[in-house]
Symmetry: C2
Subunit: 340 residues, 2 copies
């Protein structure tokens, strides 16, 4: 199986290579692509240098393409790659809402990936981190309403977002005034309740992605979800406060037990020991931390919880690789048999 | 009227002096008290040096005492100050839940202050910032349920909290590892979903303060409120995402109009112009910013909104001074007539 990464030099691309190094995914060849600006540079993979090529105009000679070069590149190029015979696992939002494109979190709806027609969409980072906890609770208790407030890190705006936060924080600490390019306002020691563009209903597209994508992954188009998405001055890991109204009443103990058995999650919930989900502990980890599980004070039998997960890993690179691994395990990658 | 500030050298004390400098409150004398460690130091007030005295064992020769030296000092000393004839406006949580102690946000329930028996409690900062928006909406539409997620700054832990955030951020940027004393974990580029101590129900005391105090200020002991309180790496201003289930359906336009007419608030709600509440713009301001007003996606006729307000000002010092101003305007400060 020939594997390609498009957008190899970006923040997610960087994590994709690290995840692939540790992955059990079998592939015979790894091709790296990026914008012409980065072409010719070299990235190390399992101790070997790999030269980055400029993303070609048309098809890419790979069986599987992990694309993470932004929505406009994907929208333009993915149909050409599919025509050339590749399966595209796309990290952008370009195709997520197309009826014939599966939107996949392998722990929740892996089987949806099997029905792809050339493109599989990797969900939004904030959705992935929340749905790992929401889906098993929905299955067991029926979520009637979910209210989500997010605490999203600078990595959501890529490497340039993280660099800007570091650089402008230094600037502020030296007595300067923070500038901004990656964000709508300076982020150091500030927060910004504005991620992606505003929609007509007053919600941002980021907030609506959480609504639309959670519904699609869980397979319940009527699920009631509301979201407030806020950028906070943190480098990696998105965190989310989640309040759930349930059809069947749940106790915190039952929910903790359920989440302990649910894949992709790590229950970190020992208030006495000062243990709860935090970016400091969830950054760099594959599992999403979940904790602060407690009975809702506004919904009878409802639950409140808090999650924190690495936006670049489970929220992006890791999930994309897990989709490929899932398909290979199911024998659904066409040249998997010939892989090394 | 002789005025005293206890805890004059702390973060809130510092703001109290600045607010008093701009205040219309009439007083003939200003006494400053702090711990013996700070006694003898000098603070400037309206261009004049004022010597800080050690807080005495017993009574203080002042008509009004603005106390901001922490719960244990207030619990021990306030009864003695009251016995000595002073009115105590207390910034700690020591007396907030006593039935005979009014808990006052002047814009909402100023008249409650008139019934004091020597002590008036200044509410929790997170509550004050939220209740300015919640109370008028409750009055007009009836709040059935409120779900609140907070983004609380380091200033909630006083001057030492802000200093630790700055110092440890410098430390991280120089390649070091952040330490912590003021917070349960390092705060730079992190968040901590743990403010004040955990209660038996899994909520922190900070979260329950929002529940208990909002009910008491609004005068509705059955109001359903849930809160997740999170410390974020911001110096000043607490922000809060608020989701409201209403008895009488409201539209965002109606609510914005209502909030524009409500005292203590500044409606900052122009998504097209990238204007919404943020610590960057609310810090140092008297008014609490409110925006991101939009129709709830989970409650029919409900509303979502976002607030940001200076924790040290409206969330502490300003509200305490406003309580004194309110009483003086009502002729309810005993020696107000003789004030200069």
């Amino acid at each position: 199986m020939r594997l390609a990464v498009v957008g190899a030099t970006g923040a997610v691309g960087h994590e994709l290579l690290k995840v692939l190094e540790r992955s059990s995914l079998k592939f015979s060849e790894l091709q790296l692509y990026a914008s012409p600006r980065s072409a010719g540079s070299t990235l190390m993979f399992r101790g070997q240098p790999v030269t980055v090529q400029a993303t070609p105009e048309g098809a890419i000679p790979a069986d599987v393409i992990l694309a993470s070069a932004g929505g406009s590149v994907s929208r333009e190029k993915a149909p050409l790659w599919v025509k050339g015979g590749s399966l595209v696992i796309d990290n952008s939002s370009a195709f997520r809402y197309d009826d014939d494109v599966p939107l996949v979190c392998p722990e929740i709806n892996g089987e949806a990936a099997l029905g792809h027609r050339g493109i599989i969409a990797n969900p939004n980072c904030t959705t992935l981190i929340e749905v790992l906890a929401l889906a098993p609770i929905h299955r067991a208790y029926g979520v009637r309403r979910a209210i989500i407030s997010t605490y999203q890190s600078a990595s959501g705006a890529g490497a340039k977002g993280m660099e800007e936060l570091l650089e402008e924080t230094r600037n502020v600490l030296s007595g300067g005034q923070a500038g901004h390019q990656a964000f709508a306002h300076p982020l150091p020691f500030n927060l910004i309740p504005h991620i992606d563009v505003f929609q007509d209903n007053g919600y941002t597209k980021e907030e609506m992605k959480v609504v639309w994508e959670t519904r699609k992954i869980i397979g319940d188009p009527d699920l009631k979800i509301s979201c407030t998405a806020v950028r906070v001055p943190i480098l990696r890991s998105h965190s989310e406060a989640i309040s759930l109204d349930l059809e069947k009443p749940a106790t915190p103990d039952e929910v903790r037990e359920l989440l302990r058995r649910s894949p992709g999650l790590k229950v970190v919930d020992d208030p006495e020991g000062n243990l709860y989900p935090m970016p400091l502990t969830s950054s760099g980890e594959y599992d999403v931390e979940v904790g602060r599980v407690r009975a809702s004070l506004v919904f009878d039998g409802g639950i409140e919880l808090f999650v924190s997960g690495d936006q670049l890993l489970k929220g992006a690179a890791l999930n994309a690789v897990q989709i490929a691994e899932y398909l290979q395990e199911k024998g659904a990658l066409k040249t998997a048999a010939s892989a090394t």
